[in-house]
């Protein structure tokens, strides 16, 4: 009999711990000059250093240090004046040296925090997630195990190794334990990863693409009886590849732990793998017997000792924190909460802001990006930033509508043309002939023809039946191929037939 989430939180308090691995977007790898571009042919982005050839030596990528410091500063950490790399020794075929160079007991950033907010039935709730450390390490290669049932090394027929990823700079951000989230633990976990992702993106240090693995989250979860002091045994869930999965994984683990505990069984301390399809986790490597990685200081590298003045220079370049920026923009643009949330979900904040910065009205700019443009993006199965329309184009279209040079209907055609690659709004208007007909004598001639064609309708209007005007306006619009300003047509028609036009 499986438990409901409500059963779980009535009895237990969850304690979280989150480890996020971020692939930095430096041009070259952590310890050599090889390219870091994603998706290259296997083993084409390698050299003696990242292949662990005999005699080859690592040299630290200065840019990776800079990115790590920026991350630490953005997470309110102290930057340690002296940090070191160590070797983590274990044998695995995708690790060329059979040790990983990683910061161990002397990380580059320590003791920070990140505040996250979640929207609940009880209103907005704020949680502080304390950061224990931010440290640098190198990624491993990738193994592809062919044959066998599990896709894992045991039981496979053979394995293929790709070392393109070996040596990509990674930053690991580790939280302290996060108690006190209660029933909101899954949402807090998701909000933390989302906020962290936004910060990393605003710093420009990583592509933060969870689906490509450039941001990976390991979620540690344990339960204890409400009111208990001692922590329960934790499980560590890996392979959590989306924000939604973070939430599902935490929730799922809480239920699984509670079921075990209720049956009087114990939770095994182990790595678990999240299954996207089922939302469940399956057992991985047991951590009951702590592996001995025989850490010792990496003798091939010298300590990292960033200059205090350099740290301050970097601090001065920190961008506005995403939460604060969102609040500021929401108030500047007077956006209702729901629509703000929609804009954030659509990842449209940057592009709308850019459009507004080019002079467009915020409401109009938002309307275009989240309306027509998002609709086309959805149709094409891409994101709005993938389309061939820029904030400059949208700002121009907004201006043309405001000046009366385009109607909304015409503007939609312009948007479509720009996205179709027909050029700037001006050239689409030119080539498609979309200019508003503003020549009033031409409009009057069209109105006369419409009245002549439908004399009974005209008569109704003359008798004060205003709603009948729609048919004549429609006829004029049809004749002008929609390029007339319908409001102006209405005005002229009603005046002509002796009726008030407003």
């Amino acid at each position: 009999m499986s438990l409901t989430y409500e059963d779980v939180i009535a009895k237990y308090e969850p304690v979280l711990g989150l480890e996020v691995h971020v692939e930095l977007n430096t041009n070259s790898k952590m310890f050599c000059g090889c390219s870091t571009i994603f998706g290259g042919e296997p083993n084409t982005q390698t050299c003696p250093v990242c292949l662990g050839m005999p005699g080859a030596l690592p040299v630290v990528n200065e840019k990776a240090i800079e990115s790590s410091i920026l991350i630490g500063l953005a997470l309110n950490c102290s930057i340690t004046p002296f940090s070191r790399f160590s070797r983590k020794n274990y044998f695995y075929p995708d690790m060329p040296k059979n040790f990983q160079i990683s910061q161990y007991d002397e990380p580059i950033c320590v003791n920070g925090y990140l505040d996250v907010e979640i929207d609940t039935d009880e209103g907005i709730k704020k949680f502080r997630v304390e950061i224990e450390r931010v440290h640098m390490e190198e990624d491993t290669g990738k193994s592809l195990h062919v044959g066998g049932a599990t896709g894992r090394i045991h039981g496979a027929d053979y394995s293929l190794l790709d070392y393109n990823r070996a040596g990509i700079p990674l930053v690991e951000i580790v939280t302290k334990i996060v108690p006190g989230t209660g029933k909101y633990a899954p949402e807090v976990a998701k909000a933390y990863v989302a906020e962290l992702r936004d910060i990393l993106r605003s710093l420009g240090v990583s592509d933060v693409r969870m689906e490509q693995g450039s941001l990976r989250c390991d979620a540690n979860v344990s339960l204890r009886l409400i009111g208990a002091e001692t922590l329960g045994t934790r499980s560590e869930t890996k392979n959590v590849n989306s924000l939604r999965s973070v939430e599902r994984a935490v929730r799922g683990e809480m239920i699984r732990h509670a079921e075990l505990l209720n049956k009087g069984e114990r939770v095994v301390q182990e790595t678990r793998h999240f299954q996207e399809e089922s939302g469940l986790t399956r057992s991985g490597r047991s951590k009951e017997q702590a592996e001995d990685y025989r850490y010792f200081p990496e003798p091939d590298l010298v300590p990292v000792a960033p200059d205090a003045a350099w740290i301050e220079t970097l601090r001065a370049t920190l961008p506005e924190q995403p939460t604060l920026r969102r609040k500021r923009l929401q108030s500047e643009w007077s956006v209702p909460d729901k629509e703000m949330a929609a804009m954030i979900n659509a990842d449209a904040l940057d592009i709308v802001e850019a459009t507004v910065n080019l002079g467009a009205d915020p409401t109009r700019a938002r309307g275009w990006w989240l309306g027509e443009i998002s609709r086309i993006a959805n149709e094409q199965g891409v994101t709005i930033s993938d389309l061939k329309i820029s904030p400059t184009d949208v700002a121009q279209i907004v201006a043309l509508v405001a000046q009366g040079d385009l109607t909304d209907k015409l503007a939609r055609q312009v948007v479509e043309g720009v996205i179709a690659g027909e050029g700037t709004p001006a050239s689409v208007i030119e080539s498609r002939g979309l200019k508003v007909v503003s020549d009033e004598s031409a409009l009057m001639a069209a109105i006369e023809r419409a009245i002549a064609a439908q004399p009974e309708t005209a008569e109704k209007i003359r008798n004060g039946h205003i709603p009948a005007a729609g048919a004549l306006i429609g006829a004029v619009m049809k004749e002008t191929k929609g390029q007339a300003d319908a409001a102006r047509v209405r005005e002229l028609l009603l005046t002509h037939l002796g009726q008030p036009s407003d």
Partner: protein
């Protein structure tokens, strides 16, 4: 010609007396005639050597200016990666591996026009003091073929003593340049740690390894030192500072006004009588040449050997983890159904020799959780104490001196089954590596009781390598005027040699 010093060969080429191709061919012929007995070389690159010699001759013919060692042949210790040339580090596990890149030292040698004759024998992964640990059989000391040529760089030093090459590259982790130099009557220098790039040097113990020059004279050693030294962006531990002026110091060879400190702890009990007497005579010669001889004490040196045998194995246990059959070298047991783990195990079982396994096991143990502080941690503290001993000693002396080894060359097989006795051979050389400073060994005569060469060690503070060359050149000149001819002129002729 092949018995001359490298700088004399260079002069002979400059004057047109001989071409580099002729000089190289003469050395290749010598190797052909004597190396079956000496076994200094694991691989001879006849074609590559002659091609490099030809290109130097061509450059000279075009009137281009070439470096002071251009066209001079050299023997390269097989621990340095050379592109396309078999490189084994004396181990079976790397049999057949041809590196896809050049070590920085090799690039510098090539750029300087030095002719690389081939790769020399060594103790497997530079672990040993006799070259008996080579997977490819021992090297024999040209002074007495039944004796060891020292190690780990026995091949390099033996090639010099056998006149198979006038220059050689060695590497020194605990004495692997200086001890072979001492027991073969040649010169060898371990530069300051970080003075010569380690990029491409197959690591034994990263914090101790240092490549250096070997030759038959102090000046030749200095010339080679200048070719290979200098900052390298590919080695994070390489020192970004000008190379000490070692050639100038070797040419001047002056010790006037220098204070030379004799390390009390590196003499006396346990040192062979003939070693001590030759050492004492050398001190007298240096005093006559104008140096002031003082005694210094380095009380923590007695812990150096024990600490070394924790640090070096610890680092080696990690450095040698990469030899797993996945990417290069031999692969054993790769049959249907064999797991990666079993292939790794079998390959390492077959590919590594006894001494290497011994040290991997020692190091794995010393780094284990729960033992780390007691072993690796304590050893690092000893290392600091040794540095402090040196620092203090260098406040009262410009250089420190000692015999390089407690004894002359021992018999092949004599200590093969007694690792501790073997390790003790490096008692006087290890402190230098632990402190990261420079050390030189040069010949100071033959021990009367066995007629074998004795080495004199000079130690200088970090990045003051030129001081070793001042002292070495001064002592060499005094000894030469006493002997009338270089020590190596007394070496017994090898059977079959021309």
């Amino acid at each position: 010609m092949i018995t001359r010093a490298a700088h004399e060969m260079s002069a002979a080429m400059a004057s047109g007396e001989i071409s580099s191709v002729e000089l190289t061919q003469a050395h290749l012929d010598r190797i052909t005639s004597v190396d079956a007995q000496v076994h200094a070389f694991l691989y001879v690159d006849t074609e590559g050597a002659l091609a490099q010699a030809q290109s130097v001759d061509d450059a000279r013919a075009r009137g281009e200016s070439v470096g002071p060692l251009a066209g001079v042949p050299l023997a390269l210790k097989d621990v340095m990666a050379q592109q396309g040339i078999p490189t084994t580090a004396g181990s079976k596990i790397l049999e057949g591996w041809r590196p896809p890149y050049d070590a920085t030292v090799v690039s510098k040698l090539k750029a300087a026009g030095v002719v690389i004759l081939g790769k020399t024998n060594m103790d497997e992964f530079a672990m040993g003091s006799s070259t008996e640990n080579s997977a490819y059989g021992p090297t024999h000391n040209p002074w007495d073929l039944t004796r060891i040529p020292g190690g780990s760089g026995g091949g390099s030093s033996a090639s010099l003593a056998a006149f198979e090459a006038p220059l050689a590259i060695g590497t020194d982790t605990g004495g692997s340049i200086r001890q072979p130099a001492a027991v073969t009557g040649t010169v060898g220098v371990k530069p300051t740690y970080g003075g010569v790039s380690r990029y491409g040097l197959i690591a034994f113990s990263s914090s101790l390894d240092q490549a250096g020059p070997c030759a038959r004279t102090v000046l030749d050693t200095a010339l080679l030192h200048e070719v290979i030294a200098g900052h390298d962006v590919h080695d994070a531990t390489s020192i970004d500072a000008p190379v000490p002026q070692v050639v100038r110091a070797a040419r001047e060879g002056s010790v006037k006004g220098m204070k030379i400190g004799v390390v009390k702890e590196l003499n006396g009990d346990g040192y062979q009588a003939g070693v001590r007497s030759r050492f004492e005579e050398s001190l007298e010669l240096l005093a006559k040449a104008g140096a002031e001889i003082v005694e210094v004490s380095c009380p923590n040196f007695e812990y150096a050997l024990a600490a070394y045998y924790l640090i070096a194995p610890s680092e080696c246990s990690s450095n040698l983890a990469r030899f797993d059959a996945m990417r290069y070298g031999i692969r054993v047991g790769d049959e249907d159904g064999a797991s990666a783990e079993s292939v790794m195990n079998l390959t390492r079982e077959v590919g590594f020799g006894r001494e290497v396994k011994r040290r991997i096991i020692l190091g794995t143990y010393a780094l284990s959780s729960g033992y780390f502080d007691a072993y690796y941690g304590s050893a690092q503290k000893v290392r600091t104490l040794i540095m402090q001993d040196f620092n203090k000693a260098f406040t009262s002396a410009d250089v420190l001196v000692s015999p390089t080894c407690p004894t002359t060359a021992f018999k092949i097989g004599e200590k093969a089954n007694d690792p501790l006795a073997m390790y003790l051979n490096d008692i006087a050389t290890i402190p230098v590596n632990m402190a990261g400073i420079g050390g030189m060994s040069l010949p100071c005569g033959l021990a009367p009781e066995d007629g074998l060469p004795v080495g004199f060690q000079v130690m200088a503070p970090a990045m003051q390598d030129q001081r070793m060359y001042s002292v070495g050149a001064a002592l060499e000149a005094s000894l030469l005027s006493q002997w009338g001819a270089p020590l190596l002129s007394q070496i017994p002729a090898l059977v079959g040699a021309k």
